[in-house]
Symmetry: C2
Subunit: 218 residues, 2 copies
């Protein structure tokens, strides 16, 4: 029996993008079910009763929640191709550390930029650049965070790069000036088929941010 | 060459306790280096420059940070004995989900009880009981969260149980009334050698909480 793979998703979500890219890397087909986050579906509430958040991967009827955990699940279930995590325990721990760093730090700064004004937005920009500079150090001269191969940290960060242009525009700052390697990395990733077919166009994200600010920030 | 294993630790930390219990489960000897968190050592700042937090596992000179990541590292490096994570990908994802739930939710509520007063403390008690009731449902009728065997979720939660008495005392509430199975589980765990030799006496934790409140909360 073929695997039935669904994602409860929201198209601009960088966390949803992780799941889409990971499945594309594995060559696994899936159905995306778009959620209205202002009116969550009974299916979402049933599949993720604890956090009530997207993305949720529903694999043969069983839910897996939290994007970093979903990506590891995908890597472990489809373990015969395109490994996302390194095999060495120490390297795995380092990759997990940086994915966790993104989860704990990066989204909060992004939120302040696209959803904030004045001082809060300035703080978000400062924080975001500090975080990206750390990540640029981790990338170093490598093609991908995974080295020669696109790996779990690439999967986990690449969705954020679709937001870069829109954030720069509303925040009036430049990521490339301070993090040129990271911006080259994002471009390199976007040329991969697994990425290009899984992520929305960055212009659509910019428009989403503009509309969000009109409605929410004022 | 024998492995050199050190933990940068702080004895009342439930996150440090995870690392101690995981190593004990694997039968790995280690040296604990106690940190003064009000005056962090140059070694801690060097080994965990990003978060500057304990615990840090230093294995043959190389640092691994963040307790949940350390526990997975320990399980993967010493993979020939006492498996902590289940082998099935779906069960692994579920175990990781609940460890992550503890990390995202439980400590925050504990902090409000031991470090707060009045309304904040009441809120902490309410939150903590909701969280523990969820965990009690996950435990169900099993001996351990891992089923018949003590596993990663047991390792990750057991340190919190040393705080239960002290929290009940300063918050004037009873965990056992609403979560009797969880309290039996904690007792069952405390009878395991890997746990009893790794965790401080709960009376010492209660005294630590009293002293902390005298100094900080007033």
């Amino acid at each position: 029996m073929a695997d039935e793979v669904k994602i409860l998703d929201f198209w601009p979500s960088m966390f949803g993008m992780r799941v889409r890219v990971a499945l594309a890397e594995k060559g696994v087909g899936y159905e995306c079910i778009e959620e209205d986050l202002s009116n969550k579906s009974p299916l979402l509430l049933q599949m993720n009763p604890i956090h009530k958040k997207i993305p949720v991967l529903i694999h043969n009827g069983k839910p897996i929640c939290e994007s970093a955990i979903i990506v590891e699940y995908i890597d472990e279930f489809w373990n015969d191709r395109a490994p996302l995590l390194p095999s060495d325990p120490y390297e795995r721990a380092q990759a997990r550390f940086w994915v966790d760093f993104i989860d704990k730090k990066l989204y909060g700064s992004v939120r302040k930029i696209y959803g904030g004004k004045g001082e809060e937005q300035e703080e978000g920009k400062k924080e975001m650049m500090e975080i990206l500079k750390e990540l640029e150090k981790v990338l170093g001269e490598k093609d991908y965070f995974g080295g020669e191969c696109f790996g779990v940290l690439d999967v986990s960060l690449v969705g954020f790069s679709t937001w870069f242009g829109g954030l720069e525009s509303v925040g009036n700052f430049s990521i490339e000036t301070e993090c040129p390697k990271l911006v080259s990395w994002a471009k390199r990733c976007s040329e991969k088929e697994s990425v290009s077919k899984s992520l929305p166009d960055s212009n659509k994200i910019s428009e989403f941010i503009v509309q969000f600010r009109k409605k929410i920030v004022g």
